[in-house]
Amino acid sequence: MNELTVFLIMVISTLIGGIYLGLLGRGIDRKIAAKFQSRIGPPIRQGFWDLKKLMLKQTIVPENSITWVFKGAPLVALVTSAMLLVYIMVPYLLYLTGYESPMFAHMGDFILVIYLLMIPAIALVAGGFSAGSPLSTIGSQREMVVLMATELPLAVTVIAFAVKMSVLAPSMPSFSIFTAASNPVWNGMGPAGILGVILLASAFLFIIPAETGKIPFDQAEAETEIAEGLLAEYSGKYLAFFQLAEALKSLGVVALVVVLFFPQGVSTIMGGQMIAGGINITVPCEIMFFLLKVSVVYSVSISFIRVSMARLKISQVSKFFIYSVSAVSITGFILIMIDPRIMAM
């Protein structure tokens, strides 16, 4: 098959699957949270119904808003979230399917992923500022603070990975997701390094809810404080776009964590191809296993943390990330660096 055809198929399937799974994920998240709260909770398909209803509703654009920013921000958020998901997923899918080609070796640059993570948030901020409501403005300011606070631990993690990859696979580009996926970070590491990776992973436990704007880090949308904050003025289809973007971004961030920390597929664990009834079912199995990992990470880092904590204050958030989470991730980074097997290189 032509490389370009493969690429297009993967992009399109990722997009369709991503939208479907993202919305399904929202439903599962609400269901699990409800279970934690001793309730039944909405049906799992609730996300789809909400979205359909929002698409059919009237869309109001406030009079005192900057119209083009107000209308453009949801689209930018949606497109970049989709791009983020595609950008993380395609190299991983390539790795899973074992389709190797020099063209794809550089796919999925970490630095670009960090920027793509930022753009939907910035679109939200722009939309909030343009809405012309004081509550949205406060929400935007808070979103900026959360965005900046999470940047340092994120960057530290990425650099740690790059250093590790440059040692593990010197022949491949160090900043690439493909490299990270094909060389699990746990390999070739002493106890200090393993502890370091665990610290990085636990830092990500809090980065995920912060990136996706879930309690305890949903200050930007705090319903009881600033009335949904930067989404306060959005209605109808623009709100639907933001919701879809958020669903895609959540899936993207969780997928990133899975790709970085738990990239092992079924075939690596079972040690070979999966064959049932003479048909090679490795690829479907790999995808199912990947979804299982995603749902576990999703329900722990988003659903469980969401139900077991109160919303923090914005000053506490910045302190929490700049001191605690950064300290944890830098310690992890240092531990990886001083690992004797890396030092030996």
Partner: protein, 148 residues
């Protein structure tokens, strides 16, 4: 922190406390969409719940005590001609949308013509529709008769 987590875990693995109540009362097409799908009654109503009012026209002697104690003026009187004693008497109609369900009229009624039932499903589209006014049929009956 630990106590919270333990409580959450308890709730996760324990029995859910939701009573799947209004399935019976939802429109047909919605029932499929509802979780569970079992037919559940509402949580058991205690004896003496102050719900929907019912009024016994034949028992009423038209003393008008209920009108005097009602804090919300939910009762309205209408005069009728008492055929047996051949003198004017009073009967009431009762507006469900005005009632405060305090049971004072029940306590004050000397013949027990007014009762509060444990039924509480009263939502409707019309404020003063026929099923929101107790005793309206009787009133119509008499108005028609008077007209004749």
């Amino acid at each position: 922190m630990l106590s919270t987590v333990s409580r959450i875990m308890q709730q996760f693995f324990g029995r859910r406390s939701t009573n799947v109540f209004p399935v019976k009362y939802a429109p047909e097409s919605v029932i499929d969409a509802l979780a569970g799908g079992d037919i559940h009654p509402p949580i058991s109503m205690p004896e003496g719940y102050r719900g929907k009012l019912s009024y016994d026209f034949d028992k009423c002697i038209g003393c008008g005590m209920c009108l005097k104690v009602c804090p919300a003026k939910a009762l309205e009187d209408y005069p009728i001609m008492d055929t047996e004693k051949n003198r004017p008497s009073k009967r009431i109609v009762f507006y469900r949308g005005k009632c405060t369900y305090c049971e004072e009229c029940v306590k004050v009624c000397p013949v027990g013509a007014i009762k509060l039932n444990p039924d509480f499903m009263m939502a409707n589209y019309e404020k003063y529709g026929d099923d929101q006014i107790e005793g309206i049929e009787k009133r119509r009956e008499f108005e028609v008769k008077e007209g004749q």
